[in-house]
């Protein structure tokens, strides 16, 4: 095997050798450089492989034929092999990426570059402090050189600031080193570690200087202005190297040197790392310049890894996986993003929409963003999950909380950026010109990210390769994205059907899961059918839709908390992309994402508490959590409620559902929301009545007010789809209220609402969505009189709203009936009344919907409008079939559920054979009611027909209207501000206070960020001062 020492020999030999080449032979020299980097990669790679196979053990490489401490020695162990390979790979790819530019500048640039990579290798391998110092210096000088590959005044300034900063800190490093030698009598790291110089005050100071400087090399917040300037002004191609390779080396050095100080230093590293992670990401929220933003993010991520390094004693056996997963994730994603930035060549993140001109790049961009925020299936997801679990289970809750805060702050700007990229108006004609040498490296890192995620699976308890099956299909759908929509639609439906078939055994026997299985999967297929009326390719729709359904399926089938969370995040990601497809949905998708991420973190914490008390990842761990019981359950409940859009957490929903595409709205409204309900139901069942007494009581009130406010807001909507969206909020309020009662009747009511809401909301959104597309307007008052044009749609909507309003004989009433019984038996009278009030309000918007669309005056521009396409009507009518069946035979559905529930709650409702349901309070025979009403209806209709002769049809405007004929439908169609009276009376209830509340919070965060970032005055000298102050403060915290 080729010795690691040849990394140095080759690199330097080549660097010097390139001097021979004149300007003429640039190509040769450039290829030589690449060859050299490739060979370095090969050397470290083969060692890595050998260690992977276990065919070698840690090697000490001696120089000059003497043993340490008398001479310098390097070490090549497993860790070193990994690090050097990472460095060299990025070096090689970076070389490929910057190929042209390096050639332009000339041989010297290539030499500098190759020397830089070499120095990083040595920094990782060397075991000699002074040697470390020398190669750190080489690194910084080479960096200072590479900065000015970008030839402008800014990069010059950045370079000088960088030199000043590194100059100061390396001087201090030197002092530390020489005194370490003075006290330990050796420069060898191991020698110093064994010498325990830290025991004396002075020795401690020496060690402190070394550690402090190595920390500062990692650009800790806030003493890092110089580093940020480098990121911002250097060529992105080089920014990738700094962010990925240099940081990797620096982190490893810190990890390597930390033992010199002994255990006492780890907590301080944790502190520094946390401050850096949170602070840097917080300040990043205000950043508009892409490269600087990436700088903030890089520093943040490095801070995170630093934290993990500091946590090494706590994490124990899990340390290696967590640290490596997070490091690798950052390394790949950040390199990719910087390289993308190099292709885009746009400073402002708001100009990045050009990325849309190239689908492949766009997808890669998305991958990188989601990897950074820690979504599945990327390594950071596994890493963060394990990290939080371990932290909480070792009572380090605050660290966990801060880490999640930092990640959230990162999410704030990353998703803002993503939104801009996906949605911003494309104002430029110029197309991206992408040369292969820039494209390939990005693809490589992108793919490696996915692979890395896949291979992290075995390291995490509860993770299965099984979860990746749907992902594979999604990737496949992504690859065939060029096909026309109907083909992909068919494939998706087939795929989903098959997958449902596979996973059905997993839910079979568990009735609750089966119900949600039907809602998620069958509902999913039905909503996909609607997609058939879409023309063209519908690029990017199917992968994300399937991603959402895959997530839902995973939530349903997973038996471990990890699996649940995996599915949850997958579902969130998928739904985000579905929602953001809508024309005006950028801000709504953004707030949806923020709420989802925050909610997910709460859930994660809750799971961590469960894991702590039960010691297992199995979902059963949620049963009677022992530690921080109330807190844990509250966190989980609130987390799930972000998805059910309960009052206070609902502000994302109206826009997200209202602005979504016509067939996406039913997906996210009728189906997606139920995921939150499923979560809550699981939670409540595990939590039990006693444990959650107060929590449940509060949630009951929340549910009631959610129902009231949601419905009230719906009444005053003029936008058809938003009306339905608000109505969803209300309906979910009912459900929350119902299941919070924790009685059999309550849960029966809850299930009835779940099923009904799924059925009628799907119908309404499918049909209304179709109509919105047909009429080309969202506004109810611009529709009207469509009954004659779209009778089938009308019937569908009519059935929908009758169910919604809970009017007998349709199944909506079943919910109301159960509700009344449940409320009175539970004794939640007042809440109950609020809910019933909400119910009668629901009737109002139901009428407003059907009236404004189908009745009243037909508009001139709709005179020759067509009925909706079968693709829309067929699914709708299938769902109507469901409603009719449920209405006619409620017993067949509700009795089994009741029996299932009686396992958890005392049974309070029983069913006689002929469909009569009785409780101690009341009785109801849905079947009979339906028959009676239908019969009466027929009789009365016959009677009317009998007494009525031949009717003549009137013209549209032929009405008694204050003794004159109106001539314009607009003036005659009463829809706008329909319930003015009600609005005057109780409109104040829905003043947008909650929206304002969240607005203020976000403003506060941004102001804080804006205040902090004034530290970065741009003056290199000030940055040097920062460094000194940082060291002093660090000293007083650690040794003072």
């Amino acid at each position: 095997m080729v010795g690691p020492i040849y990394i140095i020999a080759i690199a330097l030999g080549l660097a010097f050798f390139l001097g021979f080449f004149g300007k003429s032979l640039k190509d040769v020299s450039a290829f030589l450089m690449l060859a050299g980097l490739a060979f370095m990669t090969f050397i470290s790679g083969q060692w890595l492989l050998a260690f992977f196979n276990g065919s070698v053990t840690t090697q000490e490489i001696f120089t000059a034929g003497f043993r340490p401490p008398y001479s310098i020695n390097l070490r090549m162990g497993y860790e070193e092999a990994v690090m050097t390979t990472m460095i060299n790979v990025i070096g090689f790819l970076g070389g490929v990426y910057m190929f042209k530019r390096l050639k332009e500048v000339g041989n010297s640039a290539m030499s500098v570059f190759i020397v830089l990579i070499m120095s990083l290798n040595v920094i990782v391998m060397t075991r000699d402090l002074f040697n470390l110092f020398v190669f750190v210096e080489i690194g910084s000088i080479a960096t200072a050189g590479m900065i000015i590959l970008e030839k402008n005044s800014k990069s010059l300034q950045a370079g000088l600031k960088y030199l000043m900063a590194t100059g100061v800190i390396s001087g201090l490093l030197l002092i530390g080193i020489i005194f370490a030698y003075y006290f330990a009598g050796s420069l060898n790291i191991d020698g110093i570690i064994t010498a325990h110089v830290g025991v004396t005050k002075a020795g401690a100071v020496a060690v402190f200087l070394i550690i402090a400087v190595l920390v500062l090399e990692l650009k800790p917040f806030p003493a890092n202005g110089w580093g940020l300037d480098v990121y911002q002004s250097a060529k992105p191609g080089f920014g990738a190297i700094v962010s990925a390779a240099t940081a990797t080396a620096g982190l490893y050095v810190l990890y390597k040197v930390l033992p010199m100080g002994g255990e006492t230093w780890y907590p301080y590293i944790v502190l520094i790392g946390l401050i850096t992670f949170v602070g840097s990401n917080l300040v990043g929220t205000r950043q508009k310049d892409a490269n600087r933003l990436l700088g903030y993010s890089s520093i943040g991520q490095i801070g995170l890894v630093m934290t993990v390094i500091g946590l090494q004693p706590i994490l124990g056996s899990k340390f290696s996986f967590i640290a490596f997963a997070l490091l690798l994730n950052h390394y790949l994603a950040k390199a990719g993003l910087f390289w993308l930035s190099g292709i885009i060549k746009k400073e402002k993140i708001s100009d990045w929409y050009v990325l849309r001109k190239n689908k492949a790049l766009l997808i890669l961009f998305v991958i990188f963003i989601f990897a950074l925020i820690g979504f599945p299936p990327f390594p950071s997801f596994f890493g963060k999950y394990e990290l939080i679990m371990s932290l909480v289970s070792t009572e380090n809750i605050w660290i966990a909380v801060l880490i999640l805060l930092g990640s959230f702050a990162e999410g704030i700007y990353m998703f803002k950026w993503l939104g801009d990229v996906l949605k911003d108006e494309d104002q430029t004609e110029e197309s991206l010109n992408i040369s292969w040498n820039k494209f390939i490296p990005i693809v490589i890192v992108g793919v490696s990210l996915l692979a890395a995620g896949f291979y992290s699976t075995p390291y995490v308890e509860g993770a299965h390769y099984f979860y990746f099956i749907p992902l594979g299909f999604i990737v496949f759908m992504g690859l065939i994205d060029f096909l026309p929509a109907y083909v992909k639609n068919t494939l998706s439906i087939a795929g989903m059907t098959y997958y449902s078939y596979i996973i059905y055994p997993l839910v079979e026997g568990d009735l609750m899961r089966t119900i949600f299985f039907v809602i998620f999967m069958i509902g999913g297929i039905l909503t996909l059918i609607v997609g058939y009326n879409k023309k063209g390719k519908r690029e990017g729709f199917y992968p994300v839709a399937l991603m959402m359904y895959a997530g839902l399926a995973t939530i349903l089938t997973s038996d471990s908390m990890f699996g649940f969370f995996f599915g949850w995040e997958l579902m969130t990601a998928g739904s985000y992309f579905l929602i953001i497809r809508g024309k005006r949905s950028k801000p709504h998708a953004y707030s949806y994402m923020l709420f989802s991420v925050a909610g997910a973190y709460l859930i994660l914490l809750g799971f961590a508490f469960a894991y702590t008390s039960a010691g297992t990842q199995d979902l059963i761990a949620l049963k009677d959590i022992a530690v921080y019981t109330t807190l844990a359950y509250t966190l989980l409940a609130v987390g799930f409620m972000t998805k059910t859009a309960s009052l206070g957490l609902h502000i994302w929903l109206p826009g997200a559902h209202g602005e979504a595409e016509s067939d996406v709205s039913p997906m996210v409204s009728a189906i997606l929301l139920k995921a939150g309900v499923f979560g809550l139901m699981l939670l409540f069942l595990y939590m039990g009545q006693q444990t959650g007494e107060t929590l449940l009581f509060v949630l009951g009130w929340v549910g009631a007010f959610t129902a009231l406010v949601g419905n009230l807001a719906a009444v005053f909507q003029e936008d058809a789809k938003r009306l339905l969206a608000y109505s969803s909020i209300g309906q979910l309020g009912y459900i929350l209220f119902a299941i919070a009662m924790m009685t059999q009747l309550g849960w029966l009511a809850g299930f009835t609402y779940v099923i009904n809401h799924f059925l009628f909301k799907a119908i309404l959104f499918i049909v209304v969505g179709g109509i919105v597309v047909r009429t080309g307007t969202h506004n109810l008052y611009q529709m009207g009189g469509l009954l004659k044009k779209m009778p089938f749609s009308f019937v569908a909507v009519l059935i929908g709203i009758i169910t919604l309003a809970g009017i007998p004989p349709l199944s909506g009433f079943a919910g109301k009936w159960l509700f009344y019984n449940a409320v009175v038996l539970k004794g939640w009278y007042i809440q109950g009344v609020i809910v019933f009030f909400a119910g009668s309000i629901a009737f109002m918007y139901a009428f407003k919907l059907i009236h404004s669309i189908f009745l009243g005056q037909l508009k001139d521009n709709h005179r020759n409008i067509k009925e909706l396409s079968p693709a829309i009507l067929i699914p709708a009518y299938i769902l109507i079939g469901g409603i009719i069946y449920f209405s006619a035979y409620p017993q067949n559905v509700l009795e089994p559920i009741g029996n299932m529930l009686s396992a958890y709650f005392p049974a309070t409702v029983d069913w006689s054979g002929d469909g009569l349901a009785t409780t101690v309070l009341s009785y109801w025979n849905g079947n009979a009611v339906l028959i009676i009403i239908v019969t009466t209806f027929i009789l009365v209709l016959a009677y009317l027909k009998l007494i009525t002769g031949k009717t003549t049809k009137l013209e549209q405007f032929n009405i008694a209207y204050s003794a004159e004929r109106p001539f314009r439908p607009e003036t005659t169609h009463v829809s706008y501000n329909m319930f003015a009276g009600l609005n005057k009376a109780i409109g104040f209830l829905i003043a947008p206070g909650i929206t304002r509340f969240w607005k203020n919070i976000s403003d506060m965060v941004l102001d804080l960020a804006g205040f902090i970032r004034r530290l970065y005055s741009g003056n290199g000298q000030v940055y040097a001062v920062h460094i000194i102050i940082y060291i002093v403060i660090f000293y007083f915290i650690s040794l003072g």
Binding site: L787, M844, W924, L944, I947, V974, L982, A985
Partner: protein, 305 residues
């Protein structure tokens, strides 16, 4: 004779009685109102004449299918309410179809007719109709609150939603009437009734001088006759509902007629003396006093239980 057919015929008979009693009551009330206003008023048999006139009209104008179906919905709503409520206490024959559902069913079945009316009227495309409906719905929603509170209070008190049981509990002397056993609930309920009957001061729904008779604006001839039939029935049934809830129900047809008349008379009488509310005022009003009383009623009932 087959039981179900027998039952059907008895119910039909009951319906017939109620209908005519409704007509009679209506005209009587109009006469009383006229007298209070110092007029003579219509003859007692006016409603029947109207019916005959409307049915025998020649021209039948329609705005479309729903315009046609609307009145049917409306009437089914009225008849349904009659069907799902026992007429006479403890009488098997006169219990109608109340076995298929109870108070809760009835409360929600009110909306059935309203929906039909709303659909039919608003298909006519007349803004007056729609305005009337929107006001009606708003007021209905507000009225529901004290109504629900009263019903819940009663349900707590008697621990049932079933009419027969509520009625049984009120038998044996008027002191057992809910009116006396649970006065607060009764007050709330009666106040709600004023709204439900939508007489003045809560009749802005069909404000005769502002939007000519509101929702039914466009209706005439046989359609209107159906609506009139319904309103005749519904008035009696609504009155009967409150009678059953608060006034101990009726064990004979005679008591039935007396009590319904009395209950109905209350609402009309108040209508005579009070001016009309604006819709937002009536909504506020119902959400203020009746609601407060209702809440107290519920709390009291809950406390006693």
């Amino acid at each position: 004779m087959d039981y179900s057919i027998q039952k059907f015929l008895w119910t039909l008979l009951g319906l017939f009685i109620v209908l005519n009693w409704g007509f009679l009551m209506g005209s009587t009330m109009r006469r009383i109102g006229a007298r209070l206003a110092g007029r003579v008023g219509v003859p007692i048999y006016q409603p029947w004449i109207d019916m005959i006139k409307m049915i025998s009209l020649r021209t039948y104008l329609s705005h479309g299918v729903l315009y046609y179906i609307g009145p049917v919905f409306r009437l089914v709503g009225g008849i349904g309410m009659f069907l799902f409520m026992p007429v006479l206490v403890g009488s098997e024959i006169w219990s109608n179809y109340s076995f298929s559902g109870d108070l809760i069913l009835l409360l929600y079945f009110q909306s059935f007719g309203m929906l039909g009316m709303a659909l039919g009227a608003s298909e006519s495309g007349s803004p007056n109709a729609t305005i009337g409906i929107s006001r009606g719905l708003a007021q209905f929603a507000a009225v529901e609150v004290p109504m629900t509170l009263a019903v819940i209070a009663i349900a707590i008190q008697h621990h049932t939603f079933s009419f027969s049981e509520i009625l049984d509990a009120q038998q044996g002397g008027f002191m057992n009437w809910t009116l006396f056993t649970n006065p607060l609930a009764s007050i709330a309920g009666m106040l709600a009734m004023l709204g439900a009957m939508s007489h003045s001061p809560f009749n802005l729904v069909k404000a005769p001088n502002e939007i000519p008779i509101g929702p039914p604006t466009e209706y005439h001839s046989s359609f209107l006759s159906v609506l009139r039939t319904n309103s005749a029935i519904i008035h009696v049934v609504e009155a009967a509902l409150f009678m059953n809830l608060f006034f101990g129900g009726a064990d004979t047809w005679f008591m039935y007629i007396i009590k319904t008349f009395f209950v109905y008379f209350i609402s009309v009488f108040i209508g005579m003396v009070f001016p009309r509310f604006k819709i937002e005022d009536s909504v506020r009003w119902f959400l203020k006093w009746p609601t407060v009383i209702g809440i107290i009623a519920v709390l009291v009932a809950a406390y006693w239980k």
